[in-house]
Amino acid sequence: MIYPGFLISCVLLALASPAPEAPKPVDLTVHADYLHVAPGEVVRNALIQIRDGKIASVLPGRSAPDGALSAHSIMAGMIDASARVTPGDVAVEQSKEVITNLSVTDSLDFFNPAWDRLARTGVTTTLIAPPDYNVVGGFSVVVKTSGPKRVEARVVTGASILRGAIGELPSAGNSPAFGRPTNFYARRPTTRMGVEWEWRKAFFDAAQSARFPDAEFEGADVLRACLAGDVRIFIQAWTTADIRTAVYLDEEMQAEGYGDLDIVIDAGAEAWKEPAFLVRTGTPVVLPPFPATGRLGERAFMPWDTGRKLTDLGIMIALSAHGETGLKERLSAQAGYAIRGGLTFDEALACVTTTPARLLGVEKQVGAVKSGMDADLVLWNGAPFSATSNIVGVVASGEVVLTPR
């Protein structure tokens, strides 16, 4: 498709898939008093049958068989569209500000206990992105939080997602090239303005390369694919100004006739301030974790009813927890805070399951408890997301990764 690493991942995945076999007996049975199949769909006294890591069937109105795994309520394993479990700055190539031919996949470490801890908080699928030290950092990858500690077993093929940022972070660490620079950080961009310039230049150059073969450069193919809408771009933009810039970027590309970008705003804390841009362009937003008293990254301010406001305007939102696993910080707690801020239960459930699944292009595989989808389940001892409920069990790809005590 786009670049060698990705191609290799595809090849490895193909090699790893098993040959089809005759139907086997059920591997695991789980019972729920209340099963939230998907937002708005509840099944009472549901018996979930799992085979080969997938949901084989969901049978309503059954009682729990003796000794079977059982819980008060069960929902689909959660999806964090901005999980940020990487080894840090060695996960993103910073020798250039715009990197389009590399993927964060090559830096993943599945021996890190963080994956296990994240899985036990009910997050079974994540989008891992290159850290935002670059203007464009390369490709993100959809990863399951548990399973064999091998790339082939954990990477999920979804939408092609490129990662970039608008704001302060990409320019941090760069300095004007006074005197004799000792390393490549003596370069632009050094300001937010410069970051925006890098984005425009990248797409401008890509558009030129489409018209003039001589103007071809390394990584141009990916940028052309972005302009064609074949590659989705997650852009981190905390503040109103940055979100505006991201949306204008897309509109400008359209205005110039270069193409139509498919953008998702990540950490769009101030999306609530000027939602008109987002409504107009239908840009989805991934919200960062709720702060206790307002201020967030790059001094952005996000009130608690952001979820309600944006949903009322028809903007697609997902919640994220940035890989945090503490009781108060984890993704399920974020859903609780969103409910406190005015979302209904089903809206909050969508924000952590079906919506992020769609944004990642994996909605056929995860995000709901339906036959044929991955057997990813979160078991609760009460109503999900309530302050007085806790996650007591997690099943991922049919394996029990957190056993109810």
Binding site: Q94, S95, S103, V104, D109, F111, G138, F184, Y185
Partner: protein
């Protein structure tokens, strides 16, 4: 009863091409096919001519009967003795033409410690600090160079990253290596044509990427620096690579020697390294013994110290096979007992360490 000959005399006797052959007899001789009770080795011109139990003494041969165990000298994998700060060139990231052999200094005092520990072959490696640090060499302590270019040293750990120099990341590093492999020149062109690859990593995830790289390009060689490489056993086996383990001390993480035992069970070639320059060569035997305690088979442990290490080192060392150089050690007992000491060491048939008894 011993027939005792002064070391000077024995040295004279063993000067190549001069005075004929030497036959050493010991209580046990650890030959390439296993231990031989009351074994004898026939040495001529510094090479092993024959090895066995009831070897006949040739006419010009001196027989020396020794108490103890005779074995091939140990092979230490991964050291920077004598390189004196030339073990790492931080100016460039890819130095596929840099031979550690150029930095070898046979007069360095450090070699004495190796002989005292019964080590007769050392793999010189660069310090991890560049993406491709150079080509390794196999030398004899204070002696000859056995293999000028054994492996291309490729670093997959984050030690290869320097601030402000490309690559700064794992994806960038792999991309850079793949670029070089597309149209290989210099050292890269010799890979697979007699030049092995030495994959340096620290974490298991890095090790997996290293092994995948080797498999992609059908390279032979070994993975070094990953303590718990046992978790990568399937991939290693599939890629046909060996493993060089970092030193395992007495108080180390118990999962590390257990990991080595796993590798042994899967028949993955093993060897032991020394790491930093001031690490005592005695650490080799201690590492092996720790692994044996955790379940590594005796043969596998011995192989890892000697012939297996030699194979990984891409050099004809570590074995008392016929035709090989007579690099041998006399131990006071079984070399795989910690209580055994090194009594004498010969390199190419010449005694280079140990007293004579009068």
């Amino acid at each position: 009863m011993n027939i005792l000959i002064a070391p000077i005399l024995s040295a004279l006797c063993a000067v190549s091409g001069d005075t004929g052959s030497l036959v050493l007899q010991a209580e046990v001789v650890h030959g390439p096919d296993g231990p031989i009770e009351k074994g004898r080795i026939l040495i001529r011109d510094g090479k092993i001519e024959a090895i066995g139990a009831g070897l006949e003494l040739p006419e010009d041969g001196h027989l020396i009967e020794l108490e103890g165990h005779l074995s091939a000298g140990l092979v230490a994998m991964g050291d920077q003795t004598g390189l004196k700060g030339e073990a790492l060139d931080s100016t460039r990231q890819i130095m596929d033409g840099a031979d550690l052999a150029f930095g070898y200094d046979k007069t360095d005092d450090g070699w004495g410690a190796f002989l005292e520990a019964g080590v007769t072959a050392v793999l010189l490696t660069p310090k991890p600090g560049a993406l491709v640090g150079g080509r390794t060499a196999v030398v004899k302590p204070a002696g000859a160079m056995v293999q000028r270019r054994a492996h291309l040293h490729v670093c997959f750990s984050n030690a290869a990253f320097k601030p402000g120099v490309a690559p700064t990341s794992y994806p960038g590093a792999i991309s850079m290596l793949e670029q070089r492999m597309k149209t290989p020149t210099g050292g890269f062109a010799l890979l697979g044509k007699g030049l092995g690859v030495l994959l340096a990593a620290k974490t298991r995830a890095e090790g997996l990427r290293a092994v995948a790289f080797a498999k992609r390009h059908d390279l032979t060689g070994a993975l070094t620096g990953v303590s718990r490489a046992g978790d990568l056993a399937d991939e290693l086996h599939d890629a046909g690579l060996g493993v060089i383990l970092p030193p395992i001390g007495a108080a180390a993480d118990p999962r590390v020697p257990a990991s080595a035992a796993t590798l042994g069970k899967k028949d993955i070639p093993l060897a032991f390294s020394l790491g930093a320059t001031n690490r005592s060569p005695h650490a080799l035997r201690i590492s092996a013994l720790r692994c044996m305690k955790a379940g590594l088979a005796r043969d596998a442990a011995w192989k890892a110290l000697t012939s297996g290490a030699g194979e990984i080192a891409n050099a004809p060392v570590g074995s008392l096979a016929v035709g090989r150089a007579a690099d041998m050690v006399l131990w006071s007992g079984d070399p795989l007992e910690l209580t055994s000491q090194v009594e004498r060491v010969w390199i190419e048939g010449k005694q280079v360490h140990g007293d004579d008894d009068q």
